[in-house]
């Protein structure tokens, strides 16, 4: 097919992704396009537009889309005019048989991701809102524009899982792009017709499953989507059967970007079968029945019958696909994955636990006010009608020639009658722990802090509050746990908390303040808990020097006070330190010396601080 590696090869793969996606947008789910906003991305989107069938819808979904536009709802203007409920379709239903483009997918709220995912899964949108219930077909494909700069943001994992191809355009320069598609419109049209008839042997399915498992991909959607992509590739090439090349291409576009592990040296298919076989025969002493069970579950190649001397074609096919997929794993990815262990690596989660809050739409109703139902505000029909009622007689003669229809008198509702419901949402507290993980903070301190975070989280989910963790050590600070409500995530993030090194106190305070500002922007209430002994010895620039580091830490503390962020400093040293006290005073934080406190004491102290606020 095309040469791999280099920007030109990457662009060629991106073109393939666009072509295959355009053959069957709904079947392959979509494309996650990681690229900065710019001409290269525009080129790709223009290319996609060109290869999609003429006239098929391509709609952009903004981040702030309201449910009544996304899923559909009551068409207010038409409803009032007609005097009966008139529903309007949402973007998803309007884009049926076409494509929706999600901009800034890395900031996508989980609720929106779940709604789009549901449309991908079922091919329809079910809506029950504003007194109307509708079911519309929405067989859409999704392009998620992912502009994330760092590895700690990514589109919600639930959505990524459903998009077959993950394309990275960041390394491609405009000069590398080439707008000539390798197929013409006629080929694409006949490929779409042919798609349903493409045959696919068991060996192909096996090859994709083996490859996915070897690359540590847990989700079963990955091999399924790869199969769809391989089918589309065969259709595009004018064949009726999936070939090895199709599988290699699918492995490269679908499986390689999802890899979480490098394949073990031995082919894992044989490995797994042998292991389970050996274990089972040891346990039961009856290999025959076990064999039968395996056979009943799937007509897999019998591991005993497959002689190493004569490898069967399925095995080689799997090896070929695996080798090709491994070779095309992007370089950046290799850094964060490790050789495969015994069990499947869990997928990195991009899901943010906290749902973004829109005060106008959610929460408990808190009265009614006059106003127009726009920007998500919900019309309160009874209040609107009540406001309109006294004026009916007056309004009627004003409209000459208007005859109420035979079904009964229509009510005339005017703009000034509109009332909307107000909602109140409880402010959510996000407790941000900034942990001093340096050498001076003893290791057992870290264990206590971890315990406290987990205890707090167990308590937090009752109140729907969130917790975040920042650790600073060595040269800089890092966010170990973005604000979350999930105990599962917290445990996983905190399990690998390392300790030792210098104390970049200023960097730690900066990072915590930054995160707190983000929480404020989302409408939450941040509470900062700094656990340190106050002995700063690494400056913001990452260099040593006690004095410089201390001055910077004081500056950072003052900035925190200026930003009016609530904070609390827990002194973790054996004896209360004047440095820590001074720091607490500078940041206007409560000072809490906890020399011998365990996890339970710490969480109790923080809890009472939250309750006080």
């Amino acid at each position: 097919m095309t040469d791999i590696g280099g920007p030109a090869g990457a662009w060629a793969d991106a073109v393939w992704a666009a072509l295959l996606f355009s053959v069957a947008p709904h079947a392959v789910g979509g494309v996650a396009l990681r690229a900065h906003a710019g001409p290269v991305r525009d080129q790709w989107l223009a290319l996609l537009r060109r290869v999609l069938p003429a006239g098929s819808p391509m709609r952009r979904i903004p981040q702030h889309v309201a449910d009544d536009r996304l899923l559909g709802g009551l068409d207010l203007a038409a409803t009032l005019q007609a005097g009966r409920p008139v529903a309007q379709r949402g973007i998803l239903a309007e884009a049926d048989q076409g494509v929706v483009v999600l901009s800034m997918a890395e900031r996508l709220p989980p609720g929106l991701a779940a709604r789009v995912s549901a449309a991908i899964d079922t091919g329809e949108v079910v809506m029950a809102r504003d007194g109307v219930a509708l079911r519309n077909t929405a067989r859409v494909g999704v392009v998620a524009l992912d502009e994330s700069a760092l590895d700690d943001e990514s589109p919600p994992a639930a959505l990524l899982d459903r998009l077959a191809m993950h394309v990275d355009l960041r390394a491609i320069r405009l000069a590398d792009t080439d707008m000539t598609a390798p197929c013409d419109a006629g080929q694409l049209a006949s490929a779409r017709l042919r798609l349903g008839a493409i045959q696919c042997g068991d060996a192909a399915i096996e090859a994709l499953c083996v490859t996915a498992l070897a690359l540590g991909i847990a989700s079963l959607r990955a091999p399924l989507l790869a199969l769809q992509v391989a089918r589309a590739a065969a259709a595009l090439d004018g064949r009726l059967e999936v070939s090895q090349e199709d599988l290699v291409l699918a492995g490269r576009l679908v499986l390689a970007p999802r890899a979480t592990a490098l394949p073990a040296a031995e082919p894992p298919a044989k490995d797994a079968a042998d292991n389970s076989d050996a274990e089972k025969s040891e346990e039961s002493g009856e290999p025959a029945t076990q064999q039968q069970e395996l056979g009943a579950a799937a007509p897999l190649k019998d591991p005993d019958a497959a002689q190493p001397a004569a490898p069967d074609p399925g095995e080689t096919l799997a090896e070929t696909v695996l080798a090709a997929a491994t070779a095309s794993i992007p370089g950046g990815l290799l850094a964060r994955i490790r050789p495969v262990g015994g069990e499947l690596a869990r997928p990195r989660s991009g899901g943010r636990a906290g749902v973004m809050q829109h005060a106008t739409q959610h929460g408990r109703p808190a009265g009614v006010r006059r106003g127009e139902p726009r920007a998500g505000a919900r019309l309160n029909i009874i209040a609107t009608l009540r406001a309109a009622a006294p004026w009916q007689r007056l309004r009627r003669p004003a409209e000459s020639g208007y005859m109420p229809d035979a079904g009964g008198a229509r009510i005339q509702v005017r703009r000034e009658d509109f009332h909307v419901t107000r909602f109140r949402q409880r402010a959510q507290t996000t407790t941000i722990f900034a942990l001093d993980a340096s050498g001076s903070a003893a290791l057992h301190r870290l264990a206590e802090a971890k315990g406290a975070v987990e205890l707090l989280l167990a308590d937090c989910y009752v109140r729907r509050d969130r917790v975040a963790v920042i650790a600073f050590r060595g040269r800089n600070a890092e966010i170990l746990l973005p604000p979350t409500r999930s105990l599962v995530r917290a445990k996983r993030s905190l399990a690998g908390l390392p300790g030792g090194g210098g104390t970049p106190l200023a960097a730690g305070i900066d990072a915590a303040a930054h995160l707190a500002q983000g929480v404020l922007r989302q409408g939450g209430t941040p509470l900062l808990v700094l656990l340190t002994d106050g002995r700063a010895n690494v400056s913001r620039a990452g260099t040593g020097g006690r004095e410089q580091a201390w001055q910077e830490a004081l500056l950072a503390a003052r900035a925190l006070r200026a930003a009016r962020l609530g904070a609390m400093l827990v002194d973790t040293s054996p004896q209360p330190q004047p440095a820590a006290q001074r720091l607490a005073a500078e940041m206007h934080a409560a000072y809490l010396p906890l020399p011998h406190a365990g996890a339970a004491d710490l969480s109790a102290a923080v809890r009472s601080a939250v309750a006080l606020r």
Binding site: A27, E124, V125, M127, A157, L220, P223, H362
Partner: protein
């Protein structure tokens, strides 16, 4: 847009508009689901004895959680419902009739004769994401309010789910005020509407089925408690299972009708098993020894309240009925203990072992001798 929305359900119309039901023609057959024995068993137990109170399916992405729940509708035997009743009242259960059926039925002794009934499929109602409160609990009929200015009640999803199943996908993304509402109705079995000038109450007894991914956030303990059974699904790890899952899913997507036909017989067999298990359920004996073991197990695990014991006993009885065993034994208890108890343990975040492990440990200790 034509008027296909916001239909009122006046008496005489078909009671359950088709749009509220999961699209059955498309459903993946239940018996074609590979592995996931615990999840399938939990769903079957809930179908045999709805009083167990719902199933929560939590687990990894792409493991067929929602597939299994959506497949359930095809397995359920039809039920008898009063013709024209918007809530699908059961003509045999006098005490549970809605107000209008009570009025029409007259004196309770004659109600069965007066109320005409027919066989309808058991509702499995999807609570779509982004559903608004008015559609869930029911609300003022906008059409009549706008055109005639009259106050009429239009039943919501809870009314449709009465006597059936209410399915919430991504249950942990549900908005808080909807969660509170569901908790209340699920506990009382009655939906009370006091809004928009309406004052209506109607029976709403349904089996709550939820699914989600624990990474998206935890569930409130009050909602957890409403689920009788909780299942953890994991992605299959053997290559043979994985290949089979992909193969079947692919067959289904290519030709859904042919695939459904292929598994129809097996689904029918399961359906008959459910029917006979329901018939046997009342006759299954629960000996004192089994009750004692259930109580001991709950004490050992420190579960809150009596609900754990009760659910454990009921689930064991349903399992015995399903397997045509006349008496509940330790083997049944052992198998249903993890799904009935694991979400009722008091949380101990410092215990690294998950709740499943703790239940297994307690089981091993108890039945070791």
């Amino acid at each position: 847009m034509s008027k296909e929305a916001g239909q009122t359900v006046p008496f005489g119309d078909p009671p359950r508009p088709p749009e509220s039901r999961l699209s059955m023609a498309l459903a993946f057959p239940f018996s074609a689901i590979v592995g996931q024995a615990e999840m399938k068993l939990a769903i079957l137990i809930a179908a045999i004895d709805p009083s167990i109170g719902g199933v929560l399916v939590f687990g990894d992405r792409g493991t067929g959680k929602s597939t299994a729940v959506r497949a359930l509708a095809a397995l359920l035997p039809p039920m008898r419902a009063v013709i024209g009743c918007p809530y699908g009242c059961d003509p045999a259960a006098m005490a549970d009739l809605c107000d209008s059926c009570k009025t029409r039925g007259g004196k309770s002794s004659r109600a069965k004769a007066v109320l005409k009934s027919h066989l309808v499929p058991v509702p499995v109602v999807d609570l779509p994401l982004g559903a608004t409160e008015d559609r869930v609990v029911g609300s003022l009929d906008i059409e009549r309010a706008l055109s005639q200015g009259t106050k009429a009640f239009e039943p919501g999803l809870l009314a449709r789910a009465h006597r059936g199943f209410l399915y919430i996908d991504e249950v942990n993304l549900l908005e808080d005020h909807l969660v509170d509402l569901l908790i209340d109705v699920a506990a009382s079995g009655e939906n009370v509407i006091e809004r928009e000038g309406l004052s209506v109450r109607h029976p709403a007894r349904f089996v709550l089925v939820g699914s989600g991914n624990p990474e998206e956030g935890e569930l409130r303990p009050q909602l957890l408690d409403r689920f009788g059974l909780s299942v953890e699904v994991k992605t299959p790890t053997t290559i043979a299972d994985r290949i089979e899952v992909v193969r079947r899913r692919d067959d289904y997507e290519r030709d859904g009708a042919a695939f459904a036909a292929k598994w129809h017989k097996e689904d029918q067999r399961l359906r008959r098993l459910i029917i006979s298990a329901r018939a046997r359920l009342a006759k299954v004996k629960v000996p004192d020894a089994a009750l004692e073991h259930a109580a001991q197990l709950c004490m050992r695990l420190g579960t809150d309240g009596l609900r754990g014991e009760l659910t454990l006993m009921r689930a064991a009885r349903a399992l015995a009925a399903f397997e045509a065993d006349p008496v509940v034994g330790d083997a049944h208890l052992r198998r249903v203990a993890p799904p009935t108890l694991r979400h009722r343990l008091r949380r101990d975040p410092l215990d690294e072992a998950g709740s499943s492990v703790r239940v297994e440990r307690a089981l091993d200790e108890m039945f070791a001798t």
